[in-house]
């Protein structure tokens, strides 16, 4: 029951994000979709993932998109050029849905009739991240730092050229 509400919220948010004409409205609708997804995670008992979803996607990603929208173009006058090829995009969407559905149906997880409730406490997640997956975590951290420095360098160079 709760899952249905959250799923509807997520889908409605996503649909609104695609169809609204005002770009900022789209971002806000996208936030609703993110929140719905977080609620689904929380309902499934994945506290860490759900709260991280809120923190990262609503707190950071949504605000980043908002900044990008506001700083790059006029959010008022955006004559949304809806791509004419409905048929082509529909076929692509259906194909992707079909492949995903097939993959989920044939995966190992769906064969068990009753799934064992995964018991992942915060401490277990922390231990796994710090011990077993320490190297991937470090590499991701390094990658993000490189991306950050790269972004700053690109922005600074543009500023110099403008002068």
């Amino acid at each position: 029951m709760l899952f249905l509400i959250f799923a509807m919220l997520t889908v409605a948010g996503a649909v609104a994000a695609m169809s609204l004409r005002n770009l900022v409205h789209s971002v806000l609708a996208l936030t609703v979709a993110f929140a719905g997804l977080a609620a689904v995670y929380l309902q499934l008992g994945a506290q860490f993932v759900g709260l991280a979803q809120i923190l990262v996607y609503i707190g950071a990603v949504a605000i980043l998109i908002v900044f990008a929208v506001l700083l790059t173009r006029d959010s008022e006058a955006s004559p949304l050029a809806i791509v004419g090829s409905w048929k082509g995009s529909g076929v692509v969407a259906l194909a992707i849905f079909g492949i995903l559905a097939w993959a989920v149906d044939h995966s190992a997880a769906s064969r068990q009739s009753v799934l064992p409730q995964p018991e992942a406490t915060m401490q277990q997640i922390g231990n796994a991240l710090m011990l077993r997956f320490a190297l991937p975590l470090e590499i991701i951290g390094l990658l993000l730092t490189v991306a950050l420095i790269g972004a700053v360098t690109i922005a600074m160079r543009e500023k110099k050229e403008m002068r």
Binding site: N22, V24, H25, L28, T31, Q47, F48, L51, A52, I54, L55, I58, G59, A60, A62, I63, V66, F67, L70, T121, M122, Q123
Partner: protein, 391 residues
């Protein structure tokens, strides 16, 4: 006797819930806690507005409100009636739906912060495994509502205020979370209840609060500075700098919606002070071992009131920062200090107990502070200010 008074509200809740049919009990118990939080913190908001206006008045050598009720303490009722009866003006160009939603979502988010704050012994609405993470996740939602308010008003001052607020809140969120991480490292838990439990116990008469360790002290100071910035209070009140951009993101709000913004802001301030109390000041624990007979929730609110007075004091004392000063302070001072403080907390954890540990960790806090402060102040030259256009 002390035990009864301490658990008074918990027993009351159990007694009330006992009358309900078994299927409704969990809902009713949650509902009662929610109502209690709503009433108590809304009341605290009312009291704080008077205290703040009177305190600021005293600091600025005037009286402050003193007409409604004894010593002006019924002023919030008059204010409430005024804001309820005021016309609710929405600009014609405004985005009506978003304009309406912004204050509502802000207040909902602000109230839900209290779900994880342990107000007293056994007095927490939801003892989440990831309580601190929940707190930060919800407070990041508040940033988005501020953007909604600023953008939907279709006013350049509102938009400027919102942009300022978001830039400031994102910048100060980093040191805020890093300062809180030290405590999480020390306790090994994200649950607020566990964090309070780990600070229980006394050496002699002194408590084992984290603020009484070198890293805890530095962390507490960093946390409270960042908390001041997060709650957009002076000296970090650029988002609503009234001399520059009228009232920032809530310029176009009037009547009760304005009151809701006011409420949301104060609730955010109380909640983040409450988190500071939970993380560093032992939560609801008594400050001295012979004072444990006083109920735990009274200690929590006493600490909260001390924090609020400090906020008022700071607001009345410090001038507003400039935007570049604000950003420099966050990224060049707060962030390195917070990162070094993480190292200090780790060193503290692995050194054997004793004076050496105190000495090394105190050095690790004080030396970077002095060097960083000196280093950043090098470019400063305090001179007579030259005005380009005004003279």
């Amino acid at each position: 006797m002390g035990e009864t008074a301490d658990q008074l509200f918990v027993t009351l809740q159990h007694w009330l819930v006992g009358y309900a049919p078994a299927s409704l009990r969990s809902i009713l118990s949650a509902l009662l806690s929610v109502i209690a939080i709503l009433v108590v913190f809304a009341l605290l908001f009312a009291i704080t507005t008077v205290l703040e206006r009177k305190g600021l008045g005293r600091i600025q050598n005037r009286y402050g409100p003193n007409r409604v009720g004894p010593f002006g303490f019924l002023q919030p009722i008059a204010d409430g009636i005024k804001s309820l009866t005021k016309e609710d003006i929405v600009p014609r160009a405004a985005d009506k739906v978003v304009h309406f939603l912004a204050p509502v979502v802000l207040v909902i988010a602000a109230f839900s912060l209290y779900a994880v704050l342990p107000i007293g012994r056994n007095m927490v609405l939801a003892n989440l495994d990831a309580g601190v993470l929940f707190f930060f996740a919800i407070s990041s939602v508040m940033e988005l509502t501020i953007f909604m308010a600023g953008w939907s008003s279709r006013n350049k001052y509102s938009l400027l205020g919102a942009m300022r607020a978001i830039a400031q809140m994102i910048s100060y969120e980093v040191p805020l979370i890093l300062a809180a991480v030290t405590v999480i490292m020390a306790t090994g838990s994200l649950s607020t209840v566990t964090i309070v439990e780990r600070q229980a116990g006394y050496t002699g008469i002194l408590p084992h609060w984290f603020v009484f360790t070198p890293w805890g002290f530095a962390g507490f100071v960093l946390f409270m500075i960042a908390a001041t910035a997060e709650s957009n209070r002076s000296p970090f009140d650029l988002p609503e700098g009234e001399s520059e951009i009228i009232a920032g993101y809530y310029t176009e709000y009037s009547g009760f919606k304005f009151a809701l913004f006011f409420l949301g802001e104060y609730l955010g301030m109380f909640a983040i002070s409450g988190l500071g109390i939970t993380l560093f000041l032992g939560g609801w624990a008594a400050p001295l071992s012979f004072l444990t007979w006083i109920p735990s929730y009274l200690w929590f609110f006493a600490k909260l009131l001390v924090m609020i007075s400090a906020f008022i004091w700071v607001r009345g004392t410090l001038p507003r920062l400039r935007m570049d000063q604000l950003m420099n302070f966050a990224w060049r001072f707060m962030l390195p200090m917070a990162l070094l403080n993480l190292v200090t907390a780790g060193v503290w954890r692995f050194l054997p107990q004793g004076l050496l540990r105190w000495f090394v960790c105190a050095l690790l806090v004080v030396v970077p502070y002095v060097l960083l402060g000196r280093g950043l102040a090098q470019g400063w030259r305090l001179e007579k200010r030259v005005y380009r256009f005004a003279e």
